[in-house]
């Protein structure tokens, strides 16, 4: 089953992370769970990609990290969106919409 799941397009992962984080501060594990849930198990984010991406986005200044207690009382690293991150998310979503629209147009025309 794992093989059939789509490989995350590089770059797309960044956008998905930003989108998920946009709902409110959230830790890494929850992000991977959220993406898997919302995409109805279509996307499964490997830890080997998730954490480097989080660190990259944090370094870019799009995410802001803070150590806080979880509901279960454990300390975890929570990520939140910065203003620049929100701007970036808007730009990437715009790009994505234009891209998918264009792809859809071509596919329809080709039928």
């Amino acid at each position: 089953m794992g093989q059939e799941k789509a490989e995350l397009l590089k770059g797309t992962l960044d956008m998905l992370i930003l989108k998920v984080v946009a709902f409110g501060p959230i830790h890494g594990y929850a992000i991977s769970q959220r993406i898997q849930q919302i995409s109805r198990d279509f996307f499964q984010v490997p830890e080997g990609s998730l954490y480097p991406a989080l660190h990259r986005l944090e370094d870019r200044g799009w995410l802001q990290a803070k150590w806080e207690e979880t509901d279960s009382g454990r300390d975890a690293k929570f990520y939140a969106l910065t203003r620049a991150g929100r701007k970036q998310l808007g730009a990437e979503m715009g790009n994505w919409e234009r891209l998918s629209e264009a792809v859809a147009l071509i596919l329809r025309a080709a039928e």
Partner: protein, 886 residues
């Protein structure tokens, strides 16, 4: 906590947190697996499997951050290249201007360093000093003695407290015979410690030892690399073989390396200072012929050394009253470096000042270009900032752009420097630069120039960038990209920069102009005779000691002169002791029945009957030296005007009697003899073209047996074409006679007198020319920019009825005003600065009005040309287009 300790601590903390973050993830996963019904063991295994390697993920997280930076960096570079390529004209001019500055500065600094700081391959040559004895009672107070007698030398060597080591040497040609013919080598007689003193190891064999001058020691000598190559084809088996030098067998014990020309000789012979030792046979009795060079002990100053020597020589002077010591004298020690390079240093420093101005002009030019660009780009920067580019990011981008520019300029600059140096070395005068000097690119200097270039671009690129970024970016994006806001003050700054540029360029041009005037004056000096069509050859008859062979020498020269005179193309020919106008021998004199000042002196020329005819010197009084005077060795003399005026006053020169002290020390010359003045001739230059004529007496050459003479001929054809036949005639008389130098007087003058000012002139000329080109570009840039800014305004004017010519004059006028301010400042600065050039220029005043006028005229022309193009563009503006321009 802020130093490395702080950084280390933060790094540790970051590592710890990374570990905690990933472990938290693992634990959550295990908890979820357990919740879904797995055993704890299984859940842990599965979680770890899904995670892959923990360490690998950690490394990827760290890399992700670094990758960010590399990506940004590459993107910045990419952006810089793209934006520079878009504005190719700007980029090319900026790189070219900076590269010129870097190249020229590097070349000049390299030459200065290699010539003035590090010219010799010798050990500790900075502490090597020459001893000079200055005569304070002499007529010109500039007379110095560099030579010492053997007793003096030994006294100094034994009694001084300031020297580590001291050597003595003198130069005398050595006759080499190999059975096929004689050749004369420049011989350097050196005390055995001479080579150890300079600290250069031999290329082959060994250097001299103290044993080499012991009375019973075998005769030895050493050879110069160049002589070894040219005369003996670099045969290494030569070491240990025996040569016949001055008729005596001598063994070659060593050959010095290529980069060694100590004591300036082809062969070196050991010089012993005790009676009976090798090398003590001098051609003159009781000679003061030993040059002394010494190495100061560490920490001893030149003054302290001079004071120490002064005491020694004063004791000697008291113990030996006589002609050797002037009534008042002073010892000076001069470094070898100063002695060799001397005044040429000043030329180099003047050129260094010139090249610094060129560099400054280049930097100003680039700064100006960058400012103009920044003004135009304010809008672009504002737009990018509003699109979310961070302030630091923008600044970094502009920095990278400046950096790319600087690096390109540096590479081009190195290229220029490499070829510039080759060109400069080709014209550098040989006289003041030691033969061993290796002039190469100096890495330290190159780094210095690079630093300046990088600094210039960074400052000029960043200042406007900061200005643009600091302001309210959104507002600027809304406004016009051209001419709004900050550009007004940029405009003033740019005008100021152009004014500075113009002023600097004027200073450079006046310097170059003065040097050119001085050079023209020098090459057109009236020598008192015509140096064109004159050839010379220095001839030494065969024989080990020609002082003892006066009669043979006389016969030899008579035959040579006859044969040379018979050559087609030769008009007249004579022999002489010195070579006019470059000087000759001198002597202290006494005039019978007159009290002259102490140390009255004169130059002494020994000449044949056709001497005056060959040179073309006018007789003013009495008669010239005749064939009979020469044939019967009569004690007669002809003097020049300066001589008569200085020593006879208003008295009739004819019939006066002069004694020449120098002859008393020469064997084979008449001692204690008075010469009767029979005539007076017009003055001509006898100490080089730059000096005014000094007193000179002309005597029949037959009165001494001196064998070394010049043959000087006036020709009707190009002198150099006759050299081979002259040589043939000389050897036809005696194949063992040696010719040590020959050529035309004109080319000798060029070599000896003109090369130094020519070097300065060409170099400063190039600098001034380059400066002018850069300034032309600068003026053009500012004017074009001003016109572009005013397009709208010009359009309005023209729509309201202004003529093309009105617009043209308006722009030209603006350009001229800019230039005039710069010129005024430049001329005033030049008037203040050219004083420092006074040592470099002769025959023309440092404030020569003609030069200043020419420079101003040239600059006006250049300024007009530079503003004409933008003015024409302004005049051709279409009002309709211009009004829509905003």
């Amino acid at each position: 906590m802020n130093g490395w300790l702080g950084r280390l601590f933060r790094k540790r903390l970051a590592e710890k947190r990374l570990d905690a973050e990933l472990r938290f993830h693992l634990e959550q996963r295990v908890r979820d697996f357990v919740a879904s019904g797995m055993t704890r063991e299984e859940a842990r295994r599965r979680a770890h499997l899904a995670f892959g390697g923990l360490e690998q993920v950690k490394q990827d997280c760290r890399d992700a951050r670094i990758e960010n930076h590399i990506q940004d960096f590459l993107r910045d570079f990419h952006y810089a290249f793209r934006s520079l390529a878009k504005d190719r004209r700007f980029a090319l001019i900026a790189v070219f201007a900076l590269a010129l500055g870097i190249g020229a500065t590097t070349v000049m600094f390299s030459v200065l360093y290699n010539v003035v700081v590090d010219p010799f391959p010798y050990r500790d040559f900075q502490r090597a000093v020459i001893l000079e004895m200055w005569d304070l009672t002499g007529p010109r107070e500039t007379e110095a003695r560099f030579h010492y007698t053997i007793p003096e030398f030994l006294a100094i060597r034994e009694q001084n407290h300031v020297f580590e080591d001291m050597i003595g040497n003198y130069t005398l040609d050595v006759l080499y015979t190999d059975g096929k013919g004689g050749r004369l080598f420049r011989g350097g007689y050196v005390t055995p410690n001479g080579f150890d003193f300079l600290g250069v190891p031999p290329f082959l064999g060994r250097i001299f030892r103290e044993d080499d001058v012991k009375p019973e020691a075998p005769f030895v000598f050493m050879m110069n690399y160049r002589l070894w190559q040219t005369e003996f084809h670099g045969d290494p088996k030569l070491v240990g073989t025996t040569f016949f030098l001055n008729g005596k067998p001598r063994t070659l014990v060593g050959i010095m390396p290529q980069r060694f020309n100590g004591y300036n000789a082809g062969v070196w012979l050991p010089l012993g200072l005790t009676p009976g030792a090798d090398g003590t046979v001098f051609p003159v009795k009781d000679p003061d012929v030993i040059w002394a060079m010494a190495r100061l002990k560490k920490g001893v100053s030149l003054q302290a050394a001079a004071a120490d020597l002064d005491a020694i020589l004063r004791r000697l002077a008291q113990a030996n009253p006589g002609d050797l010591y002037p009534a008042q004298f002073k010892i000076r020690t001069r470094t070898l470096l100063d002695f060799v390079v001397g005044d040429f240093k000043k030329t180099l420093y003047a050129l260094l000042a010139a090249v610094s101005m060129l560099l400054l002009i280049a930097c100003i030019n680039v700064g100006n270009l960058l400012l103009a660009r920044a003004t135009v780009r304010e809008r672009e920067i504002a737009v990018r900032a509003s699109l979310g580019a961070g302030r630091t990011r923008l600044i970094r981008q502009l920095l990278v752009e400046s950096f790319v520019l600087a690096v390109a300029a540096c590479l081009t600059g190195c290229f220029f420097a490499y070829f510039g140096l080759k060109g400069l070395v080709a014209i550098i005068p040989r006289g003041p630069v030691p033969e061993e000097t290796v002039i190469g690119l100096n890495p330290a200097v190159l780094l210095f120039a690079l630093a300046i270039a990088v600094l210039t671009t960074l400052i000029c690129g960043l200042t406007p960038a900061l200005h643009a970024v600091r302001g309210n970016l959104q507002v600027r994006a809304a406004g016009s990209g051209k001419g709004a806001g900050g550009s007004f003050c940029h405009g003033k700054l740019r005008a100021g920069l152009v004014i500075a540029e113009v002023a600097l360029s004027i200073v450079l041009l006046t310097g170059a102009g003065l040097m050119m005037r001085s050079f023209i004056a020098l090459t057109h000096v009236d020598l008192g005779f015509d140096p064109q069509h004159m050839l010379y050859a220095r001839v030494i008859p065969a024989g080990p000691d020609h002082f003892e062979m006066a009669a043979q020498n006389q016969l030899f020269f008579e035959q040579v002169l006859q044969r040379v005179k018979a050559l087609p193309g030769v008009v007249t020919v004579t022999e002489s002791l010195g070579l006019p106008p470059l000087g000759g021998a001198g002597s202290y004199i006494t005039v019978f029945g007159k009290s002259l000042p102490q140390h009255a002196d004169s130059m002494v020329e020994l000449c044949g009957e056709s001497y005056f005819q060959t040179l073309g010197i006018r007789l003013l009084h009495g008669r010239l030296i005749s064939e009979t005077d020469i044939g019967s060795q009569r004690r007669v003399a002809v003097v020049n005007q300066v001589f008569a005026r200085a020593y006879f006053g208003n008295d009739n020169p004819l019939g006066q009697k002069i004694r020449f002290d120098a002859f008393d020390q020469v064997s084979g010359a008449p001692h204690n003899t008075y010469f009767e003045v029979i005539g007076m001739v017009a003055d001509f230059k006898n100490r080089g073209p730059q000096e005014s004529p000094t007193p000179e007496a002309f005597l029949p050459y037959s009165i001494t047996g001196i064998g070394e003479r010049f043959i000087v001929a006036r020709t009707s054809v190009a002198p150099k074409s006759l050299l081979p036949s002259v040589q043939r005639e000389i050897w036809a008389v005696d194949p063992n006679a040696a010719i040590t130098s020959n050529g035309s007087i004109q080319s000798l003058l060029a070599e000896e007198v003109y090369t130094r000012p020519q070097f300065g002139l060409i170099t400063i000329g190039i600098f001034a020319g380059l400066g002018l080109v850069l300034v032309l570009i600068g003026i053009f840039g500012v004017m074009a920019y001003t016109v572009a800014l005013q397009t709208h305004e010009i359009g309005v004017r023209m729509a309201l009825g202004a003529q093309h010519s009105n617009v043209l004059t308006m722009v030209l006028w603006k350009g001229l005003r800019l230039i005039s301010v710069g010129m005024l400042i430049g001329v005033l600065t030049s008037l203040g600065l050219t004083r420092f050039l006074a040592g470099q220029i002769q025959g023309v005043s440092a404030t020569d009005p003609l030069t200043f006028f020419a420079v101003v005229a040239l600059f006006l022309a250049v300024g007009l040309i530079a503003s004409l193009l933008p003015a024409c563009r302004a005049a051709s503006i279409d009002p309709l287009v211009a009004l829509r321009y905003e």
